[in-house]
């Protein structure tokens, strides 16, 4: 009895949702996708974004598709990858949607055939570099920034570009010794990806690495740790910190300052794809399209406090607002096979070896 009433209510609601939300450009049979998703009843998401941060998206999606329950699980990006491949291998099924800032791992999963091909009707609204083989999509536009402690770093010291950062810690060794922090690139995939990009764009990277070594810099696995330590004054400067998190905290934290480097700013885009073994593929498609849609992106640039990747969205944090500040010096990391190259064991270990050697050279004053 109860089941019948519930089913009836579900059908009624999905009809209403259909009428409201089908924007132009969606295929005519999209209604069937919505209906099928309603039958699936839920979508399982693995994400590297905190549940708390993602809450506005989950609420809004649930309002849009009340008959699709969102099972949102946050975990760190490596853990996501490990869990996904293990679950896939055990044949028990894994996440319907994978959404992670570890762009290289996401692309690798796609290349290894773990993604379901899906041409999102929203794909045309994204920059070309953010769409990969109609399987994976870049969803955000998050800059890598410098952070500093406002109480302890004077205004004239605050470095505005990469070269100034290197110069500052190289010249004021006494003040910054042990007080500079960045990602531990052995522990953090995102941090690793950033410095690989840095070597591409910043000719003085070797000098910066040496300066890191000379100032006996401190490394952490996550942005949160760096924010905490810089805010408390245990460290003074942070390099390549995820700007989305830093700006959010800086709004509430009087001790934290954020700099978007003027020479170039790296931009990371959270990659999303649908799992090939997804048990709820239709619901997964709805989530994908929602995240890429104007409605989802407006939230991403607003309450979620990441940066919207679409140029046609009006919100606080958008690709457009960044472009206004930085002009052409924005360097998005492309959602492409290029970044997977560094997952090759040999290349990666070589890169890490070089990195360490340069640091040591800096530390020993050469």
């Amino acid at each position: 009895m109860f089941a019948r009433i519930a089913a009836f209510a579900l059908l009624g609601l999905s009809g209403a949702a259909l009428a409201q939300s089908l924007p132009p450009g969606y295929p005519a049979d999209y209604g069937q996708t919505i209906a099928a998703a309603g039958k699936e009843g839920k979508v399982v998401i693995y994400s590297a974004l905190d549940t708390k941060a993602a809450q506005p998206l989950i609420k809004d999606f649930s309002a849009l598709y009340p008959n699709v329950k969102v099972e949102y699980n946050d975990m760190n990006s490596t853990e996501m990858y490990n869990r996904f491949i293990a679950e896939a291998a055990s044949g028990q099924g894994s996440a319907d949607v994978m959404w992670s800032s570890a762009m290289d791992l996401q692309i690798k999963l796609v290349d290894d055939g773990h993604a379901l091909a899906y041409a999102s009707p929203e794909a045309s609204k994204l920059p070309g570099w953010a769409v990969y083989k109609n399987q994976a999509y870049g969803t955000t536009y998050e800059p890598a920034v410098f952070i500093y402690n406002k109480r302890l770093v004077t205004a004239d010291e605050v470095p505005q570009d990469h070269a100034a950062f290197a110069k500052l810690i190289a010249t004021k060794v006494d003040k910054f010794k042990g007080k500079v922090t960045t990602y531990d690139i052995e522990k953090s995939g995102v941090g690793f990806m950033f410095v690989v990009q840095d070597t591409k764009y910043f000719p003085g990277m070797k000098d910066l690495e040496k300066a890191f070594g000379a100032s006996s810099y401190r490394v952490y696995a996550s942005t949160g740790n760096m924010l905490e330590k810089v805010s408390s004054g245990e460290h003074l400067l942070g390099y390549n910190v995820l700007g989305s998190y830093a700006l959010v905290r800086a709004k509430k934290d009087p001790a934290l300052g954020v700099v978007l480097p003027k020479d170039y700013t790296l931009v990371l885009s959270r990659v999303l794809f649908i799992g090939k073994q997804a048990k709820n593929p239709n619901a997964a498609k709805l989530w994908t399209d929602y995240i890429l849609s104007q409605r989802g992106q407006k939230l991403i640039g607003g309450d979620v406090e990441l940066f919207s990747i679409r140029s046609d969205v009006d919100a606080e944090y958008t690709a457009a607002s960044l472009a206004k500040q930085l002009g052409p010096n924005i360097k998005p990391i492309p959602v492409s096979a290029e970044i997977v190259g560094m997952l090759d064991q040999k290349k990666r270990l070589e890169f890490l070896g070089d990195w360490k050697a340069t640091l040591q050279a800096g530390a020993s004053g050469k």
């Binding site: 760190n76 990858y81 055990s90 942005t223 509430k252 001790a255």
Partner: protein, 560 residues
Amino acid sequence: MRTSVVAAFPRALTILVTASAVLAPLSLIFYQSFLTAPFFDARKTVGVGAYEFIFADSDFWQASLNSLLIASTMVIIAVPLGGLLAFVMERTDLPAKRWIEPLLLVPSFVSPMVLAFGFVVAAGPVGFYTVWATELFGGAPWGIYSLTAIGIIAGLTHVPNVYVYASAALKSLGSDVEEAARVAGASPFRVALTVSLPLIQPALLFAAVLVFFLGFELFGLPLVLGDPEGHLVLSTYLYKLTNKLGTPSYHLMAAVAICIVAVTFPLVLLQRFLLQNSRKYATIKGKAGRMRELPLGKWKWIAGGLIGLWLFVGVIVPLSGIALRAFVTNWGYGAKLSEVLTLEHFQSIWDEPTLVRAIWNTILIGTVGGAIAVACYTAIGFATHRRNDGWSRFVDYLVLVPRAIPGLLAGLAFLWVFLFFPPLQPLRTTIFSMWLAYTVVWLAYGMRLISSSLLQVSTELEEAARTVGASRGTISRQITLPLIRHGLVASWLLVFMIFEREYSTGVYLLAPGTEVIGAQLVSLWQGGAIDIVAALSFVNVVLVGVGLALALRFGVKLRD
């Protein structure tokens, strides 16, 4: 004949289940260490590449050396302090001993993750105490991120482990041998040096081995305190391998785990050997009579002061740090306490379903899970109780095995078991998976609690039941079990506290549905959600505190 088969069945089943629960994960780790890719990956091949890789990695050797250094530092600090503490507590007229004793054991019931985190916020470069000291004296003469500091902190927090064994040994050491020495003309100090200490030497040695191998498995402290200066130990090296190659390197992690086991398992066996050896003295131990307490005189204040200092450094500093950090928005130089007070972090926990679930799960796994674990340990205890056959000896060694495996890896192995062993698959995302891992990881601890209860039941009581016609099973249920019920309740409370504090086992088992506070702390710490870590740590400390208060209220002896 038929009756004996029926009677033997529960025992055989118990042994079989225990053996699979212990050996399946271990063999999986062993197997994985000789592969070149995750064992479930079609591209895997068999080989020793993993060992070649780690042996060629300078980080591995550095981590091994650091582990050795930290473990040695711990022994050097914990053994003399623990032994001395035991002597002061057991043999002198130190005032307020009754109140001091439960406090002494607190460090062993607080999660090392929480302690380490507490040290960072309390005594780190901008910790509360550091800031205060700097404001008052213009500087704070300590640092907590160096290898030495980690060793010292670990040593101080492991003093209770030594104290427990040393004081138990002193308790069972008849006071008559000490009195005999005094009557013969030896001063109290001389008695301690020439009679008491040599006689509890086996216990001290045992504790030293224990502390040494705990040093090799240390995870929470170096994870948190070793980060800023990049000091790796074996377990954090293993954890780092999760990401070093960009993609998971289970084979490397398994190889490191096998290396750790290669160090710890012989130590566990050595411990067992020492324990048996120490019983040699027990055969002629005198009667433990009332002992006239040694008057400390003016030393009373020095001894009391030292104990107070140790408690202050090892317990009060980190816990007060946690408590403060949980209630402020930000901290450090220039932050005014009155301006940054907040309840926001607890609100955040409350708002996040996974964290609320983590708290409930943690309570559940401690109370219900702890009770079921004690029931399992009891079943295993009965399977070997008063039986001196090959199976009993097998189980004796079996229960020691999990002790040697770092909890981190045991958890990972259990994840694999739950993923790839079809009957268990549906249970993977339930708290059962976490419970099973906890129960197996703490098997040796639990069995020690149970068997010490069982040993207190005199053989005659059971033989008496036998002669009036009770079968083995009936005796177990109707004679032995009722006799040890107080011991079981005490074991349950102790297991509760251990399960509340456990953190490393859950790290890889953490999944939607299996959240527990300990593992969440590791994950949140890695993610840098410091506010939440502080608040959750606070909740954890409160839970352990409730357990401790209950234990004291019901007069549970906090050690076996």
